[in-house]
């Protein structure tokens, strides 16, 4: 069964991949701490307190979360993962985007030419519905389809 949600396409695009879901805010600097501090080329989540994503490889996946949280260096992290080509395909936010994510995602898009498709304001119902491993389709008008 497919459930459909409509959000705001901030960095639009058409992508399809499996979901990686965090009901807790996505702490960008904690998730990618080893990318920057150990210069690793891995998109595996290193945020030990994010029980849902810890140890999971987020490269090329579709991350579903309320919004990003954490250190102000979070904006730089988006650029770092795009430079290494280990970024997720898309970020789907249930809430309004925050300033750190918007800055990082935009600057990666504009300055590095690396787009991570981004949709926000998908609502709590979206996060209630989507499960890690679900197939998710994102359309450029902000429509998101979640398949069981």
């Amino acid at each position: 069964m497919t459930k459909t949600f409509k959000g705001r396409p901030l960095l639009p695009g058409n992508v399809e991949e499996t979901a990686e879901v965090s009901h807790y805010g996505f702490s960008t600097s904690a998730v990618y701490v080893e990318v920057v501090f150990k210069d690793t080329n891995s998109g595996v989540c290193k945020d030990g307190d994010n029980k849902e994503l810890y140890g999971r490889d987020l490269s090329g996946k579709i991350v579903c979360t309320p919004q990003t949280i954490g250190s102000s260096s979070g904006a730089c992290m988006f650029m770092a993962i795009c430079e290494k080509d280990i970024q997720p395909k898309a970020f789907l936010f249930a809430n309004h985007i925050d300033s750190l994510a918007s800055c990082g995602l935009l600057m990666a898009d504009i300055w590095l030419g690396k787009r991570i498709v981004t949709v926000d304001m998908l609502g709590d119902e979206f996060l209630d519905a989507v499960k890690t491993g679900n197939k998710v389709k994102v359309f450029e008008d902000g429509t998101v389809e979640v398949e069981d």
Binding site: V36, P66, G70, I97, G104, L106, M121
Partner: protein, 476 residues
């Protein structure tokens, strides 16, 4: 829920705004819906030319970034900046390299910010606060890009090498915008001060966006730049029996309103007129609303400039009310987590000055130390004590209060120029047991927050006051 930082220390949701769901811009969007109108920004012909690439690729990308950022938050146009600039990014860790690479392109093209700027304090000041060889090594490893950052800043528009302070709006630092100026600042405490106490207008800006805007001399018009965005969604009624500690009052407000604008009443009787001493109080209060919450602007009845002019007309329709009395402040204080491994351990150092102190606050702190030490006939504190301020403020203090400066030297108390918060976020240093009267420092580190009288007891004993110790039952 708790989580850990890059340096492995614990953070606890609900006590740290970085772990609170908020847009961080100073304007809540919790009621926003994707069906809301999404305005396209109206650009002037000159701005459009830049966006079309007629001034070159660098300017075009800067404009694209700022326009797209503004549209994400509902901006309808760009405004021309008129005020001064301040950037929060003062630490050269590995993560900032992508930004440095971009900034370098502007330097190479000979482009500078539209006005000279100040920046936050450095993470280190070995001259005044030497952590020892092992920790110095850790500092070097943590901030490998410090020299590169400082070189780029000096070429792209930093006022001078002494322009590193979070309290850059203080008179000695010489970077205060005027009332009504449009600015694009980062550093949450500074943003809060220039909006609230000086009446300038800036959103809470992220690193990267601040530089793009200040290169262009433009900022997207939304949020705290607008009259509507500066309306208060909360009426805060302070009904305490005495003047509340600013860092506790600010904490209570920040935790309640998160990123809405509060209108605070009941403080005129405690503060009287705006003066140098009260500005220090308002600085500390505001910094705490900005760190315990994500407040970018507050109004205080009869005190702050817009509240003096407009009074309760600043309250938005449908505002909520929060009453703060002695019991409420006690509740907030008693809910702070203790992140020390051993609650009863002896503190190792005492920090005062997050945000950086003003000249009058350095004078006040010296007086407190003198009274405490002479009262028990001691010639030096029982543990290392550090005051934190910008270089130009320190020089101003030495000039204005030479006897105080001499006394601090005699008792071995240094005025360090660095950021105490960054000191406590640096590996190895982050394990030190620090006591502080800064509620901002508490939020961003494992430091424990104490009131000034307790701090002075610690100064003379080197131990936590008995009131704060956990006493186990005898037969436990």
């Amino acid at each position: 829920m708790s989580t850990t930082t890059e340096s492995g220390r614990a953070r606890i949701e609900g006590t740290d705004v970085n772990f609170t769901l908020a847009t961080q811009t100073g304007v809540s969007k919790k009621d926003a819906k994707p069906s809301d109108p999404q305005p396209k920004m109206q650009l002037t012909p000159e701005e459009q030319e830049i966006l079309d690439g007629k001034k070159g690729e660098l300017w075009q990308k800067a404009m694209k970034t700022v326009v797209a950022y503004g549209e994400m938050f509902g901006a309808t146009k760009l405004v021309t900046l008129t005020g001064t600039c301040h950037m929060a990014m003062s630490w050269g860790n590995k993560s900032i390299e992508p930004f440095l690479d971009i900034f370098q392109k502007f330097v190479d093209a000979g482009i500078k910010t539209y006005k000279p700027f100040t920046t936050d304090p450095r993470a280190m000041d070995f001259e005044n606060n030497d952590p020892g060889p092992e920790k110095r090594k850790s500092v070097a490893e943590t901030y490998p890009n410090q020299a590169r950052l400082e070189e780029i800043y000096s070429k792209i528009g930093l006022i001078d090498g002494d322009s590193y302070s979070c309290a850059s709006y203080l008179p000695e630092m010489g970077n205060a915008p005027k009332k009504g100026d449009y600015c694009c600042w980062s550093e949450s405490s500074a943003i809060n001060f220039v909006n609230s106490v000086l009446g300038a207008r800036t959103n809470r800006n992220s690193m990267g966006i601040d530089m793009m805007c200040n290169l262009l001399g433009k900022a997207p018009y939304f949020g705290l730049l607008t009259d509507e965005g500066r309306k208060a969604k909360w009426l805060i009624e302070v009904k305490t029996s005495k003047k509340p500690n600013p860092m506790l009052l600010g904490s209570a407000i920040g935790l309640k309103v998160v990123e809405d604008v509060p209108f605070i009443t009941g403080m005129k009787e405690h503060l009287g007129e705006m003066n140098e001493v009260n500005q220090g109080y308002l600085k500390d209060l505001g910094a705490t609303t900005a760190s315990n919450g994500a407040v970018g602007l507050y109004h205080m009845e009869g005190i702050t400039p817009e509240a003096v002019e407009q009074g309760r007309d600043l309250l938005a329709e449908g505002y909520q009310t929060y009453v703060i009395d002695d019991a409420e402040l006690d509740r907030v204080f008693n809910n702070y987590p203790d992140l020390w491994p051993n609650h009863n351990a002896d503190p190792e150092k005492l920090f005062v000055g997050c945000p950086h102190l003003s000249v009058s606050q350095l004078h006040w702190a010296t007086g407190k130390l003198r009274t405490a030490l002479t009262g028990v006939d001691m010639s030096k504190p029982a543990l290392p004590v550090f005051l934190f301020a910008g270089k130009k403020v320190k020089n101003g203090f030495i000039e204005r209060y030479p006897e105080d400066a001499k006394y601090l030297e005699e008792i071995g108390v240094n005025i360090a120029l660095q950021c105490p918060m960054l000191y406590l976020q640096t590996p190895l240093q982050d394990k030190e047991l620090i006591v502080t009267n800064s509620n901002k420092c508490r939020v961003y580190s494992t430091a424990r927050f104490f009131f000034d009288d307790a701090m002075m007891k610690i100064v003379t004993t080197g131990k936590l006051p008995k009131d704060y110790l956990e006493v186990k039952p005898e037969n436990d």
